[in-house]
Amino acid sequence: MALLETRGLTARYGDFKALFGIDFAIEAGETVAIIGANGAGKSTFLRAICGLLAAAPESIRFDGAAIGGAAPAEIVRRGIAMAPEGRKLFPSLSVEENLRVGAWSQKTPGYWNLSSVYELFPMLKERRSTPATALSGGQQQMVTIGRALMSNPRLLLCDEISLGLAPIVIRDIYAALPRIRQGGVSLVIVEQDIAQAMAVADRVYCFQEGRVTLSGAPAALSRDAIHEAYFGH
């Protein structure tokens, strides 16, 4: 049974329909990348899973339970955490306080805590008392990922974690992903950089205008097929 599965998931912003029936699945231990152009519905898909957008209960199943449309707090407690697009750190909180807020719903100690996050991203420890938004973009991204890990999720959703960062910084951030997977976390990565996505993912989904246009293991997908799925005809 898949860890997370969506069946015919639709989502809308008011009158504007953004997702037209997404079928998606990720197994425990997998890393799945979602690629697609701007406006393809990738972020909307993650927001629906997190409970920020309304969804039919049965359209999203996590660990056997229907969670569509549940409150975000409920979904975090079940074990889904999000590193949102644009990092969304709390500006009036220090680095360490941001990380601690991530552990809000964590009642029992798990693998991820302040010391294991600092071990993953050592430079955060040096800057633990700095206001989070005073860090460089790459360091802020590390706080975002660390903050999401603090809830000890079973599934981590990463929305555009390389956006606006220098290639060398992106490499540092992606270098942390294997260690996160070793901790038993499954990953969904939304990424505009196709090469980056193909390099880390077990499977790839391509979205276009709110629909899945292609899916499969990176090795099985031809360049032309991806091109067509990404841009359309």
């Binding site: 709390f90 909180l93 601690r100 807020v101 809000w104 206001p131 903050r147």
Partner: protein
């Protein structure tokens, strides 16, 4: 010289009372951007609650206050989760009108329930006790306790906000409620707790309000104005700023009153307007806004 010193000293201590009025107001605005126009009336309500407990159970005023504290917290939680959570959102007008209506309801309910008679809380002569200093200068025990209570409340709230997980969550929700939800924070429940804490602070303010002076059901809006002025003079950045705002307001009022008793309120309002003209964001504004 002694007279001037005396005036300023009394003003500083009076500022403690205003800081107590203001602390709850600042807390609520800080966490959920809600301007609670019923804040003054809630302080008066807390004073009547203490009085009611003291009279009904034949308890001392301090014991009655200790009983009133959790009751006010519960009232705040219920008020927020049952009513105010339904109106807060992007529109600032709806909560403003709701708390304005609440203010009118509270005043009239208290008028019906407790009559228009002035009441006060009484303790064993502590209200009139004073400590002699030097040169014939003396400070009242009650004003001194009021000021110390204000400092204690501000220290306690600062500890809550900057040293506890609940405090981090308060600040996170204040920064960005949507992202806070992604952290598993139930913002509506948190708002309930914040209002509970604010009304518990109202109970502290009510204790000193009632011990220092008479109160009746109509004085709430006047206390609200003092609270507003203290918050705005101090700036929305820090609770210590709120204490400073209260002190500035208190000193201005006592200086005004020493020149002419009719000028007490006027002098306070003038000081407020001067600060507003010189530093529109208050004296200790928040760096990130």
């Amino acid at each position: 010289m002694t007279a001037v010193l005396d005036t300023i000293l009394q003003g500083v201590l009076l500022g403690g009372l205003y800081a107590l009025f203001a602390a709850g107001l600042a807390l609520i605005f800080g966490v959920m951007r809600l301007v609670n126009l019923a804040h003054g009336d809630l302080i008066v309500l807390a004073a009547y609650l203490i009085l009611l407990i003291a009279n009904t159970l034949h308890l001392g005023v301090i014991l009655s206050f200790i009983i009133a504290l959790p009751l006010m917290f519960a009232a705040g939680y219920v008020l927020q989760t049952g009513l105010l959570n339904r109106v807060i959102g992007n529109d600032i007008l709806a909560p403003l009108l709701t708390t304005f209506g609440l203010s009118i309801i509270l005043q009239n309910a208290m008028l019906t329930g407790f009559s228009a008679d002035s009441r006060r809380l009484t303790s064993d002569g502590i209200e009139t006790a004073s400590l002699p200093l030097f040169n014939g200068l003396a400070i009242g025990v009650m004003p001194l306790l009021t000021f110390l209570a204000a400092v204690a409340v501000i220290i306690a709230l600062n500890q809550l906000f900057y040293r506890t997980a609940l405090g981090y969550a308060f600040r996170a929700v204040s920064d960005d409620p949507v992202t806070a939800r992604l952290m598993g924070i139930d913002d509506k429940q948190l708002f309930g707790i914040a209002m509970g804490v604010a009304l518990a602070v109202c109970a502290v303010a009510a204790l000193f309000l009632g011990l220092r002076a008479n109160f009746d059901p109509t004085i709430g809006p006047g206390r609200l104005i003092f609270a507003f002025e203290a918050v705005i003079i101090g700036g929305l950045g820090s609770l210590w700023g709120t204490l400073a705002g209260g002190v500035i307001l208190g000193v201005a009022q006592t200086i005004g009153a020493s020149i002419n008793p009719e000028w007490q309120l006027l002098a306070g309002h003038l000081a407020f307007l001067v600060v507003l003209a010189v530093a529109p964001r208050g004296l200790f504004p928040r760096a990130v806004d």
